[in-house]
């Protein structure tokens, strides 16, 4: 823990019965579990759709649910600078679900049907764009969101209030100059920006191990050179992630200054369908470990948790059946939305 972090008031840790060890209210623990399972089931359905030929390419975030769900729960969704902006990368489905997005949209984008609410069948899975919630379009380049985030944050600083900008990316992408751009533009003296800079560190860039490319294993360290508050956390533990994120969100909202948060996470189905999208057993499965913990603490029984998984499996399978029969976008729609004509 950095010196800075120690001096800041930690959120009140609510002790609950029957398990005094878990420092969040039971309802929140259960909600986080529900969303983590829902997100995992969604990603596994997307992978299955890819393997069955109901989509050309899969990329997503199974393995990051323990971090991404709390992130979504802490967002302040809405449109305009009074609300939070999310500059996400393509492993963020759990965050979107936690914000309240129905899973069928992701299935529609996977199947590239006309009803795809994010891109109208134009973009890959996981490339969300939701104007009414300030979820700016996710794009495939792994770094550009870091260059855009200072812009929305500057508008928010000007606007006042407590809306902040959240930008996320992976560890490999921080080798790009745009990551440095984000740190420089967020910390201009007198113009510090309300931006939460997130790096989910899964140790891989497709097939290249992070340890072979970046000398410092803790990317958050780089923020210190800019006088930023920084933190490296275990992102596989949703309780820890929630508490750490809460502290970071509170700091950025209140102080209107940047915070660099690095979360160590797993990558459970490889980079994308290009690398097979097969389950890996060598990494921590955050859903499994969280469920063991919930069961040990008596928060949920195994049977209850199996019920949650069954529920989402059935619900999302039903949604996939709905999507299966939906039409592709019409060829002439390629000409739609090149230029906006009216305000």
């Amino acid at each position: 823990m950095s010196k800075d972090a120690k001096s800041v008031t930690r959120p009140k840790l609510v002790k609950t019965e029957p398990d005094a060890e878990l420092p969040l209210e039971r309802a929140l623990l259960v909600k986080i579990h529900d969303l983590m399972v829902k997100a995992r089931v969604l990603e596994e359905r997307l992978i299955q759709m890819y393997k069955q030929g109901h989509g050309y390419f899969w990329i997503g975030g199974p393995g990051e649910e323990a971090f991404n769900v709390p992130l979504g729960l802490l967002m302040k969704p809405g449109e305009g600078p009074a609300f939070d902006y999310l500059h996400a990368h393509y492993r963020q489905s759990a965050t979107l679900l936690a914000m309240g997005e129905p899973p069928i949209g992701a299935l529609r984008q996977m199947k590239n049907v006309a009803t795809d609410p994010y891109s109208g069948g134009r973009n890959f899975a996981g490339h969300f764009a939701i104007k009414k919630w300030n979820v700016v379009p996710v794009s495939s380049p792994i770094e550009v969101q870091y260059a855009m985030a200072p812009g929305t944050a500057l508008a928010q600083k000007r606007h006042g209030g407590d809306g902040i900008t959240v930008v996320t990316g992976g560890d490999a992408g921080t080798a790009e100059g745009d990551f440095a751009t984000c740190l420089i533009w967020s910390t201009r003296p007198g113009n510090e920006l309300p931006v939460l800079v997130v790096v989910t560190h899964n140790q891989w860039g497709i097939s290249t191990a992070a340890a072979t490319q970046q000398a410092n294993p803790d990317i958050a360290e780089r923020g210190k050179a800019f006088g930023m508050r920084t933190r490296t956390i275990d992102g596989n533990d949703p309780i820890n992630a929630y508490l750490e994120l809460k502290e970071a969100f509170d700091y950025v909202r209140k102080e209107r200054k940047p915070f660099l948060l690095e979360a160590k996470v797993s990558r459970l189905y490889g980079h994308s369908s290009a690398s097979g999208a097969n389950f890996v057993t060598a990494e921590v499965d955050c859903v499994k470990s969280y469920e063991e913990r919930l069961e040990r603490a008596g928060v949920l029984t195994r049977a209850e948790m199996d019920g949650v998984r069954r529920h989402w499996t059935d619900t999302i399978a039903q949604a996939a059946r709905t999507v299966r029969d939906e039409p592709q976008p019409a060829p002439e729609t390629i000409w739609d939305h090149i230029f906006k004509e009216k305000g």
């Binding site: 902006y85 994010y118 104007k131 855009m148 929305t152 500057l154 508008a155 533009w185 939305h337 090149i338």
Partner: protein
């Protein structure tokens, strides 16, 4: 009359007062310098950015996403190449989000030769800019159009690439900007930052108007019947000179069209002129391979082949890696007056 840099400055002042422009920014754009060509002196929303083109374009995109209206500057277009994927992204954001996120942003950047700028201050960007769908691309050739195009750019709902022919930035216009005082010295005293300490200086702006040049409208700057010359930016005034000389010395009557907007462009204007003359010369100074003029030639042959009296011709910059500093090198690299005259003569001599 105002020069082009003053015209751009006045349009930006009008835009920040009346059109909702919130940020005019880039390297050395704010005080004390107000831009390396002085085009942003005295503007209340102008500010200096880090020396980081990717941050400039990325921040402009973020500002536009959050309801602001930025005008971002890349100091010379030679330095815009490291943001090419961000330009692509800005161009596809509205389309990729299926009509959710449009980006009302202007990127202005000085282009082209004419100031002996050597390899990294002489490049053109029109060929590359017109390869990036989702952008509107404009390029004035005189101060009045520079004013009017900037007003239109600042009203746009989409990204606009505003190319400034740097050789013309200091050239005075022949037509006044509506509202500018008749006396050049009076204008300079009002809006040019003084030498030395500028910390207490504030400009006195003339009463300006919303005079606009619509994006997508070309202008016939010299009517003629024998041959059509289409150009924009630095080479446009040279084409006018060449046309005058051709009329006086060779009785060749050229119609000269200032394209002004490269995308979208005024095909109706070009088509009507080429149908009348049967001969067309396209002139610009970007490198000639995959040049925007080549697209115009392709469309000309596709649509007007049987009405042509001569092969459509492109006079453009040489396809070489840079523009050399020495006078001879620069002059040999990009079209000059004599090259245009020679091309006109050659085209006029063609017979089917």
């Amino acid at each position: 009359m105002a020069n082009m840099a003053q015209a751009i400055r006045m349009a930006l002042h009008y835009a920040e007062e009346n059109l909702g422009v919130t940020d005019i920014f880039g390297e050395d754009v704010g005080p004390p310098l107000g831009g390396v060509f002085t085009a942003t002196q005295g503007l209340k929303t102008a500010w200096n950015s880090p020396l980081d083109e990717r941050g400039i374009i990325g921040t402009a995109m973020g500002l536009a996403m959050a309801g602001q209206r930025p005008v971002a500057e890349i100091q010379f277009c030679d330095y815009i190449y490291n943001v090419i994927d961000l330009l692509k992204l800005a161009g596809n954001t509205y389309w990729a989000s299926n009509g959710q996120f449009n980006l009302p942003m202007v990127v202005k950047t000085p282009v082209g030769s004419g100031i002996r700028g050597s390899i990294y201050h002489s490049h053109s960007f029109d060929a590359t800019a017109t390869h990036i769908p989702g952008w509107k691309v404009v390029m004035p050739s005189n101060p009045l159009d520079a004013y009017g195009l900037m007003i239109s750019a600042c009203r746009e709902l989409n990204p606009v690439m505003y190319l400034e022919p740097k050789a013309l930035l200091r050239i005075r216009g022949e037509q006044p900007i509506p509202g500018e005082p008749g006396d050049d010295k009076a204008l300079s005293k009002m809006i040019d930052a003084p030498l030395g300490d500028r910390t207490k200086w504030k400009p006195k702006w003339p009463a300006l108007t919303d005079y606009a040049v619509p994006i997508g409208e070309a202008k016939i700057v010299r009517p003629g019947s024998h041959l059509t010359v289409v150009s924009y930016g630095r080479t446009l005034p040279l084409c006018v000179k060449a046309a005058k000389a051709a009329a006086e010395e060779e009785q060749i009557d050229c119609e000269v069209i200032d394209l002004r907007s490269l995308w979208p462009y005024d095909w109706a204007c070009l088509k009507a002129s080429i149908q009348k003359t049967g001969r067309v010369l396209y002139v610009n100074e970007d490198t000639e391979v995959t040049n925007f003029g080549e697209h115009l030639i392709r469309r000309t042959t596709d649509e007007l082949f049987y009405q042509l009296l001569a092969p459509p011709t492109l006079l453009a910059g040489k396809f070489i890696p840079g523009i050399g500093l020495a006078d001879n090198l620069e002059m040999a690299s990009v079209p000059q007056l004599n090259d245009i005259r020679e091309s006109i003569r050659k085209l006029a001599a063609e017979a089917p």
